[in-house]
Symmetry: D3
Subunit: 279 residues, 6 copies
Amino acid sequence: METIWDRKWDELILVALNEDIGSGDVTTLSTVPPDADASGVFLAKEAGVICGLSICSRTFALLDPRIRIKSRVQEGAWVEANEVLAVIEGPSQGILMGERVSLNFLRHLSGIATQTRLAVQAVEGTKAHISDTRKTTPGLRSIEKYAVRTGGGTNHRFNLSDGILIKDNHIRAAGGIKQAVDRARKGGSHLLKIEVETETIEQIEEALEAGADVIMLDNMSLLQMAEAVRLIAGRAIVEASGNMADQDLRAVAETGVDLISIGALTHSVRALDISLKFE
Amino acid sequence: METIWDRKWDELILVALNEDIGSGDVTTLSTVPPDADASGVFLAKEAGVICGLSICSRTFALLDPRIRIKSRVQEGAWVEANEVLAVIEGPSQGILMGERVSLNFLRHLSGIATQTRLAVQAVEGTKAHISDTRKTTPGLRSIEKYAVRTGGGTNHRFNLSDGILIKDNHIRAAGGIKQAVDRARKGGSHLLKIEVETETIEQIEEALEAGADVIMLDNMSLLQMAEAVRLIAGRAIVEASGNMADQDLRAVAETGVDLISIGALTHSVRALDISLKFE
Amino acid sequence: METIWDRKWDELILVALNEDIGSGDVTTLSTVPPDADASGVFLAKEAGVICGLSICSRTFALLDPRIRIKSRVQEGAWVEANEVLAVIEGPSQGILMGERVSLNFLRHLSGIATQTRLAVQAVEGTKAHISDTRKTTPGLRSIEKYAVRTGGGTNHRFNLSDGILIKDNHIRAAGGIKQAVDRARKGGSHLLKIEVETETIEQIEEALEAGADVIMLDNMSLLQMAEAVRLIAGRAIVEASGNMADQDLRAVAETGVDLISIGALTHSVRALDISLKFE
Amino acid sequence: METIWDRKWDELILVALNEDIGSGDVTTLSTVPPDADASGVFLAKEAGVICGLSICSRTFALLDPRIRIKSRVQEGAWVEANEVLAVIEGPSQGILMGERVSLNFLRHLSGIATQTRLAVQAVEGTKAHISDTRKTTPGLRSIEKYAVRTGGGTNHRFNLSDGILIKDNHIRAAGGIKQAVDRARKGGSHLLKIEVETETIEQIEEALEAGADVIMLDNMSLLQMAEAVRLIAGRAIVEASGNMADQDLRAVAETGVDLISIGALTHSVRALDISLKFE
Amino acid sequence: METIWDRKWDELILVALNEDIGSGDVTTLSTVPPDADASGVFLAKEAGVICGLSICSRTFALLDPRIRIKSRVQEGAWVEANEVLAVIEGPSQGILMGERVSLNFLRHLSGIATQTRLAVQAVEGTKAHISDTRKTTPGLRSIEKYAVRTGGGTNHRFNLSDGILIKDNHIRAAGGIKQAVDRARKGGSHLLKIEVETETIEQIEEALEAGADVIMLDNMSLLQMAEAVRLIAGRAIVEASGNMADQDLRAVAETGVDLISIGALTHSVRALDISLKFE
Amino acid sequence: METIWDRKWDELILVALNEDIGSGDVTTLSTVPPDADASGVFLAKEAGVICGLSICSRTFALLDPRIRIKSRVQEGAWVEANEVLAVIEGPSQGILMGERVSLNFLRHLSGIATQTRLAVQAVEGTKAHISDTRKTTPGLRSIEKYAVRTGGGTNHRFNLSDGILIKDNHIRAAGGIKQAVDRARKGGSHLLKIEVETETIEQIEEALEAGADVIMLDNMSLLQMAEAVRLIAGRAIVEASGNMADQDLRAVAETGVDLISIGALTHSVRALDISLKFE
């Protein structure tokens, strides 16, 4: 059952497989008979959120469709150390050749989903959403943003064409916040809102006057954020941004912002420890 | 001056640019005049090893060849916080569109190079080398291994075709260490050495008897590693492996191993904080 | 000077050249000496808006960089029959091989720009903008939307990911306009507005209550549109849609709608008659 | 059942789908549950020849193979307004995401087939065939020429390598019709005939003397064409060409020409009005 | 100066370079300093026709544009053993990395050109042309047919779309030679001639009656060929075919055939011995 | 059942099919009805080793999956003239369109396997292995090395990244054999052995002292090779190389070398004569 989504991710999986297999797995091809079968389990070595089970399956499907994987947990589930994530069986050669690539995906995505879940839990009960940024690993944006969703976060714009975010340099080039917002409204599609990045209360006021739909508070202190929320008073969506991974997220959320975007979710990923254990 | 190496990395850079630009940067195209110029500096926000300057240049060259970047530091240099890494000037639109992608590369690679350098310094004066693994980010193996070299580390095999590493499952499938090594020697090219992964002293003895060229000590204690080195006594190269990022690397090196391979160098990267500051 | 925009269009141009040249232009290669030079002019055979001059140049640059083209009119200019658009000179073989492909682009895009310009002129003085749709020729969306802009029109969303447009079937699946809008607000990025397609006054009221940012009037009569505009009263942007090519555009504009989207601009293109005349 | 023909067209379909879906259909993904099913019919909104049913099916197969389409009419059939062309059923999300692309193909190709059929009917009973040209939409030549055949027309050469057509500029470069034909005969494969484009009776005589297999009458009046046919007297195949869409095709055919080639069949397509109606 | 022809061959050259370089030339990168320069000569080790000099240059240009090659002989020249073909100079690393690929091309193509030249010389003074077939190495057809032309041969059809050649199985499927020729005339473009493969005098007569433009004599004896030529008497072009590499080509030519096609020119290539000698 | 190996070869097969089919097989499409079926046999016209049966099957599977092929002999079997290799049945059009490409692969690979088998048989009973080189046809290395294995040979390094082979120029650039070997040991992965190319006894001694793992004897006489083997005395693997196709292979093997590498196995292939006979 290959939908277009499989196909999109297939390209990335095939790049990874070709990169890892090169002209052939000399160890496996010489030591393991082609007709040998094996079975094993994917095992969490530490607690966290599992993400990437279908990419893992797809990796083996592309290597050898005779390999079968059955998930034992749901995508997005929190698992404990030593929990079995999935069982795999089929030709040994294919399983050994796909082991590293499948784990590289699974561990990376689960690492992202886990950090996202922890952030989401930190702000639970407030109205704040946890969001990612465009600080993603080159080539992996689509699956990294999927991992953020799997962890319970929301996605900021996917790329430069599906959201207007006016930063310092756009403002300077346009000659002021008002001019920049006006130009963006005229130049962008009528279906896009306009977000303005601000660093001071004055800029927030200008942005509101210019009719910004969303206001980003960049690198502000908790006190400044609280003041900003009061000033904006629902006239625009408010996003807190800037090294948020080092902040007390709950405190940030309690200032009343609508969105907290955290670059470290995808730019500084700690892989979740998962291994493939043969039986 | 486009050599074949540029071309190889170009593919990855173009994937990243297309992923980030989508159908066009609506903000920049509407707010910044096409004929406006800008200049700025790439700035380290924290200390570390710089890696990726040429990928950064190449990113802008692919976007708009009128953009010029001059490096202020050498690739692989250790820089301090607030140090200027490079200056950039050219059409504002192109600089703004390439900012995120160039930083995503530069920060990721510099993060790897920095962690590698720290590991290399930890074992300085011993004979141990610091090496990477195949636990790399899908699609980025080539540039991540380059970052490890830039940090002063050495590269383990690039992929499954340029090195023989016999693991537990190969041994089981072949019916023993001796059988596996014999088959690998027969099946592999005469230009490849044979490495065997071991977990016990008995396995090390079997591997030596089978004529292994390299012996990997997997997840052993410091005492076990020291004993293993004494037993092997120069008859094979010795590699220490298994969650090495959590070990006292100097202590490991002092057991006398030749090589310490660390997966975390590439699977759990913390991006180095670098930004592009317009002037 | 190859920016990333050139590269994006290059793919399409190369597809077209390969499609037209096949394994070689047997006529030209056998009858025209490789060292023969030629010169000629691109000539409008009828009046209209010129679009695609740079794609035309790029086509020849990709064939043979020794061919030089100098434009005599501006991209987007209205030209009269028999006006010279550009002069070309260089190796005869390359010019003959690129003639058809360059004209196929130039005529198609100029056809779109011309129809757009006529529509824009029809509504001049009203506040209505003329917009395209997603009814574009497969593979040509990017350049066709460029032709619409060149003709003076605005672009509707580029694709399904950079705008939310709730249609009949989305409403039915969600269980009502309100539910659909709520879900879209929650599921989409905070940078996207929400447009709802309506066919009746009741639907318009529901959409307004649900907080739609944009309301599309689908296949309504002039009277209905006028009533809709009165009802909406500035609370949402209003788009008129549905076989608009067959309508009196000025009358539609005078109902007070903000946007008139016309599928025929790109789905039923009449090529502008342009030829390449050798001298 | 994927033959190589499917694969060839798949590339174009995938380009179109990726172009239209971008990073995801935000409206459908947020408003329609993944497990919802839908059914609908493709409906002709006006009379014409249907072409592209299998491309339409293939579009949905590539999106999600669970979607099933059953044709109700034959490819190439003439249908009346309001006739059902095909029924579709399967997961709602996939159907909604493929709707626009499938219709863009179906409407464009049916538009071409319809115009071709009308031209073929105009010359019915004469010996003249209706043929296309190389004035096709960039990237779509293969499917557009298929649409012409579906409408009952014949295909002129596919590209510059599978037919020799000597035009004015080739003649000038070679130094005369005789020289050009001689060179083409020597340079081309022995399996290709030689066609010469002529504008005067003198040129026709020269071409006949040179041994041309096919003679094109370019932009001649009905009287000139009739005279040309008499002069050629079966010694070569005769093709009428040059703005034929604006001519009385029957009158042209009755001059006795063998072939009438019409660029407008593919360069100025009016899409046939077809829609997808959900039930 | 990159024309579209360079680009076409570039793909093949890049495939070959990537195939040969893998993840890097470990020997050269470790033993040769990056700033070392070298110079050398391409040397014929045996006599023959040289073909592929520009592909050889292009290979190095793609590796490193600082490498310069100057030809000392003309493409297509006959050279003697020990003759210098070209001189090369530039960075040592690039020269060493491109050596094997450039020689693989040069030797293969020169081998084809040499065999072709020998065949052409064998029939010199007769009217027979030497031609290739579609028995080419997968992926190399374009450059192999170029080598045949360089050797003085002519090219048969490039592929199945630019020539009609009716073989035994087509005849059987159509129900006879006449039927097959009629169908082909109707189904093929009016610019293609029709060739019929024959094995007997009866078939030749049928083909002539059916109006075949070209008649292939398949695996006939010298006597049969002479009789066939007499029978056909200029009413069709005559091609001799079938293991022609094992025949006395001059004797075949003297039967009066127009064309002798030889599969072995490309299916059984003996590389010409050429080496790169450093100075 | 598509494993990743099929996919790797698919690219090459699709290139070959596209190259051969162009815009369509005009002969077959016009003369053979789409619903006609055919059956036939692949027949050896001379004795040899068969290689490429699965590529042959795959070629037809990619053309039209309704075509079925059943092998009658094993891959790698020695067959006699007139032996049936496989039977094929399915739609006539697909079989006719795939005939040439499938034979081009089968004949080329069987030619390589046959020459390899003959060389292997020549040295039977000695310890010498027959090996290929990097002198392969551009783009076909992977399948040509497969054919060598099928013929009973072993593969030398696949490319420049999976083996270290120090040649004359590396030695010169490094300043001597010892320096070159030291640098290679430091620069290469710890899993790669080091081979040194030698032309004299002195070089062999230097290579042994430098610790070379493998020593290549380049273009030595039988007497020199015998002396070299005595000198090396098991301290390194010994490879004989240099125009080995022209040598008495048994005599070379009896000097005691471990490996004989023969470039002509892949650079000067004589296709095995195989045809497809319809029934």
